[in-house]
Symmetry: C2
Subunit: 172 residues, 2 copies
């Protein structure tokens, strides 16, 4: 259990990425808050990415939800994804009273490299999955997700609006 993740559906979102005035923005899709505990390595990341891409976290007009790749293909429209590094997710409640953060993967343990690897793999694996599922072999024929990401270690001013955040939390 070295990975923690919270996801929320959004209609749009906007995240400060330079502590000053530069933002990344997304439209309809998913906000993904991520955090790793000590012991996480780059080898764990493919599993985290694949699981996230397989979970049906997105809504449809019918009762069946879609995962990110299905939504890109079936709706013929890119899903927007905003990845936000959120170290605080890896905390523990001690004796029902105090938050302890000492299991957090620190910057000195390579947390930033793990985070950047996660964002890159999310782009690479979603592309592979969509090409495979849609039976196309050129990226210009398919809709890929639009993946934006926060910068590691900065103040993260965030605005978002949602028609229903449909919030999930996972640990793996």
């Amino acid at each position: 259990m070295t990975f923690r993740c919270v996801t929320q559906r959004c209609m749009k979102a906007k995240l400060l990425i330079d502590n000053d005035n530069e933002y990344v923005e997304i439209g309809k899709g998913l906000i993904v808050y991520v955090s790793w505990a000590k012991g996480a390595t780059k080898d764990d990341i493919p599993k985290h990415v694949t699981t996230l891409l397989k979970l049906r976290l997105l809504g449809t007009d019918s009762s069946r939800n879609q995962n990110i790749c299905e939504a890109c293909i079936e709706n013929n429209s890119p899903v927007h994804v905003l990845v936000i590094p959120q170290a605080a997710l890896t905390s523990k409640v001690q004796r029902g009273k105090n938050l302890q953060y000492h299991t957090q993967l620190g910057k000195e343990d390579g947390a930033e490299a793990i985070y950047l690897h996660f964002v890159q793999l999310l782009k690479d694996v979603s592309k592979e999955m969509i090409l495979s599922l849609s039976k196309h072999d050129a990226t210009d024929e398919v809709q890929l997700p639009i993946i934006k990401a926060g910068t590691f270690g900065n103040r993260q001013a965030l605005e978002f609006s949602s028609e229903g955040p449909f919030t999930h939390m996972f640990e793996m």
Copy 2:
């Protein structure tokens, strides 16, 4: 483990509560997404509320964070809290692929009563804790948190802005 909770710091937030055009709004404080699994009873709620009130989830200008009651007393200013029922939090990832929701406490199991009890206790217990900690015995001399809550089972359009959501997830 019948209670799941995600918290986020916010500067302001606005939640639709009637599926139409009625909203509750809060200022600076905390958004609290809550969910219960089958097996939860009203007897469990005091522990969930007390733990939430004790955790130092709010920021200060110094490095020491504050819990809701400390922030009301030490800043002499009410903390705003928005409680949002979020059944989807109680889901499980099966075989790294599917989300299963069958452990969710359903409406027929009394989920709404549990939720309303949680919101009421949050008001009652925070008042008791603040009166006790501040050594006042009249509520007009102390700042109590301003607690707003979503309605159970409705579409929950949500807007929020944060200077850094400082997101936590708990299970208890």
